[in-house]
Symmetry: C3
């Protein structure tokens, strides 16, 4: 039995009826079965591609991407995922559009979706705004489909909002599962999601939030560490706490990187901005208060600078499980002595983990493709089996 | 008999021999049969897609888009149309090209067209320039094809010039025909193409010109209303007059929105700039007279402001046929109290018509695809029948 | 026997085993057989397309383009080549990416290549940098493939570096071979690669370098002419000398356009910047010395202006073989009286050669496609025969 058929059999045992024609906002909207399905389909699509089998499920159709913030990894992962399935990417560049004319989100959403099978949106800049934009967009296309304007309801893949970054954390977790030899080996493992110093300010909170919201579902002991004041959204901490209680793991908060790293199996040191400051920034932007924004930036940078010792050093790594914790990062990292004078991680640590970090990133295209696959294919079990048995080659000669 | 076969039979009765390998500049270049063919093929392609049948007629090939002005709707419609037929869009971004080096249009045209099956151009900014650019471009590729430089002569689809906006008005008309239950029901219907106030200035004239040049062909009573001085091109008024005489309809000009709306079956209130002012602006740009342009802009905005009462209100809508005229707009509209303080239309009017307006827009991808189809397929009747009978699914699972 | 099968038979006699999974940096990395293979495959792909046969060898997959300098011709040629083979182009726009964050080339290279079959890079701006960037990039993806991060090692096609511009010069040579009726007719032909005046400064050296590095392999008498101080890289002159010795041709340097043009069969008058000045410019940029750069620019423009008489006139053309030398240019040219007051070539000369110049450019998509084809297809002889015999139509109706 091929790996793909094996994974299809596994998929057949999961309750995934609700995934068809559905959207992917946050991992905690999804059941354990649904997340397991994403991992299974991602692995199957990778297996098919490694065996030079076509994974095209669309003969034509568009994948629309909207990046309201810069992106390399996620942009190329989305493009790769769409191409893998037979969709062509069409990017909405708001600068080349008429959106500045005061067009509503509802209108834009419908105007770009006439032939869209999937919509990927990154909107992570402003607290309280990113998710709202995605929701407004999807409500509009759902209505558009109902009213006979759109031939099909496109599916949302959240490419990062102010709350979660599910394509990132699902790729992270796919890497963890594969590295630890299966999801059954994760119980009791200690994960340190910790703040780290960066010379820039205002990095999104969606990665730490996404990590504590997802990793707590696997019976792991998740520790969130940050300097005082660098809190993440309280609602997501609640999610993490509830997950841990249900999965038999734990969720703890500490104010010390050392404590978090101690005996950790996995470390994820990464900078982010304080939630309260980001809320304030959103208000200042909305009020058009440029002086206020400047002042806030200075204040935040000065505050960050107090915590330069929050950095992932060789010393700290030695205190992890056997001195060999898995080091995760969503990339790009602020690397001390390479990309900046003082940053999130020592160059020698980062350098040693490069192959693992790139492998971690390599799951993202497959995770995105799996999310689309499960939302678009009515019988994914049969589809995987047919692709494995009958599809033509991806490269023909 | 399927809807597509029915439409193919209808197509078989039309004289469309000249459409093969031809371009689409203005609707008034085309015979009634040729326009009927576009509507029939657009409907057939929509029917095929709604029935999940592949409409790919190309295995590979490029659709080149050149947007010399911003675009969302038309950009995505063109991309959708190309994708529907199997072409990949390649956009010519003049900022990333070497065009500023003084390259001629003739050279650019050939350099981007080696494997282009279709060229879509928007060039609507300057009176006397837009159409000229398209013509120069197409003359160059026709020559290039003749000289053995280009394997194929690409087909032009005018995505808006200074004279006409045929993909817009053909989509508008497709919506009208479908809403009124067939082209035979349009005779004697009153259409009000009227100017409306906008806080911006310099909007293209191609929509009102395109509407009077097209809608007068269906035996309708077309009224063009605008404040004094806001004339459109005289040549196009001539076209409208000749059309009306031939079709048994009428073409009238008035200087009152009220008069135009009275008992109208269809209203199309929309801002545009005075033709004479736009001619002057072109001259100022060519002379590089920045101060002159600023002065003209101020003068035009001040002049616009005299006509703020030219706006589509609930009051006015009540005076239309049964108070329920069809409200058309090419979008985005300037909506009073939503996208601006005072604009083309009252929010409550606009809001009520949203599903209809979006439906109107949804015809554009199919209209563009039909224009390409008819220019590229030697026997479109047979092709539609084969697609209906034998094509694989668009979405495979 | 079809032309494609004939070309496939020719290909079968060449030793091209090393081309599979290999990159294309410089023509002088390649054996004569390997270059002959590129020409043969390019001609075969053109023949297939002219006979409406599909040349798709990929069912899905990405072609990544990175243009660190503006481009029209090469951008559209790369897009055409990818489309011809079934790959979708995804452009890395460094402005929309997170590269400014200090990300390493190694990281970017892997992050954009998860599903990349080919990478096309233009990086011609800085002496000593362009090739280095391409090499660093390819080392990174080779490592990434070895470490199991990338499913496949993408192939490099050098779309212009600081040293060579192989897709340009191979297209130039394809045009020369076809115009002279075969490679066997090139022996003893005189080629004048000469500097010409341009009102701009700092044009890349990769074209003249590429031409002397390639044309000297065909037994031709290649003359490089430029004003004193406008030397090209010494290493490439060495390559040209060695080539000429081996091929039975010659490589000569003169400081007179007249001498170079005298009895020439082919002339290639084109502006470029002095190598020494470009080296200095790179250093100034690296030091962030804006004033130094300004001063250098002024100095170079003043120096250029001394050589306005280095221009391709009707007078000079009369001195070539029968007054009818083939005139080559990579385009766009600086045309006296058309795109500038004084430039590389007189308008009447340029104008007479336009069909030939455009034809020259038209080989580039096929040359790029051939480079990809030979790097990706294990048995290109069999593949061409199968495409000729069994592939479906490119345009289906």
């Amino acid at each position: 039995m091929s790996k793909t058929v094996e994974l299809a059999e596994k998929l057949a045992k999961l309750n995934i009826a609700d995934m068809f024609e559905n959207d992917f906002y946050w991992t905690w909207d999804k059941t354990d079965d649904e997340l397991a399905a994403v991992f299974a389909v991602a692995d199957a699509l990778r297996d098919l591609r490694e065996n030079n089998k076509s994974t095209k499920i669309f003969d034509s159709g568009l994948g629309i991407s909207i990046f309201r913030d810069n992106s390399t990894r996620t942009r190329f992962s989305f493009a790769s995922a769409c191409n893998l399935l037979g969709l062509e990417v069409q990017d909405l560049d708001e600068k080349k559009s008429q959106i500045a004319h005061g067009e509503t989100v509802r209108e834009t959403a419908n105007m770009v979706s006439f032939m869209a099978d999937v919509i990927g949106i990154r909107d992570d800049m402003f607290i309280g705004e990113g998710h709202k934009y995605q929701k407004t967009f999807m409500d509009a296309v759902t209505e558009g489909h109902r009213d006979g304007i759109l031939e099909q309801k496109p599916t949302l893949v959240n490419l990062q909002c102010d709350v979660d970054h599910p394509t990132q954390t699902m790729a992270d977790m796919a890497h963890v599962i594969n590295s630890f030899g299966g999801v059954e080996n994760l119980k009791g493992k200690k994960v340190a999601m910790t703040w780290a110093y960066s010379p820039s300010y205002g990095k999104p909170l969606s990665v730490p939030q996404g990590v504590i919201g997802l990793f707590t579902r696997f019976g792991m002991d998740v520790v969130l560490a940050h300097p005082e004041g660098y809190d993440v959204m309280g609602e997501v901490e609640e999610v993490a706490r509830a997950n841990a209680a249900k999965s038999g793991g734990s969720f703890t908060k500490v104010n010390s990187m050392e404590e978090a790293f101690k005996d950790a199996d996995i470390v994820y040191p990464k900078s982010w901005a304080p939630f309260a400051a980001m809320e304030k920034r959103t208000q200042l932007y909305q009020a058009g208060d440029a002086a206020g924004i400047d002042a806030l930036e200075k204040e935040l940078l000065a505050n960050n600078a107090k915590f330069k010792n929050w950095t992932c050093t060789e010393e700290l790594m030695k205190t992890t499980r056997d001195g060999k914790a898995m080091y995760l990062h969503c990339l790009p990292a602020d690397i001390t002595g390479l990309s900046c004078a003082e940053g999130e991680v020592e160059n020698s640590v980062f350098d040693r983990y490069i192959p693992s970090l790139y492998k971690q990133a390599s799951y993202k295209p497959y995770v995105i493709a799996a999310m689309i696959f499960l939302a678009k294919v009515k019988d994914p079990v049969a589809a995987l089996k047919m692709l494995d048995a009958q599809a033509g080659p991806r490269k023909c000669f």
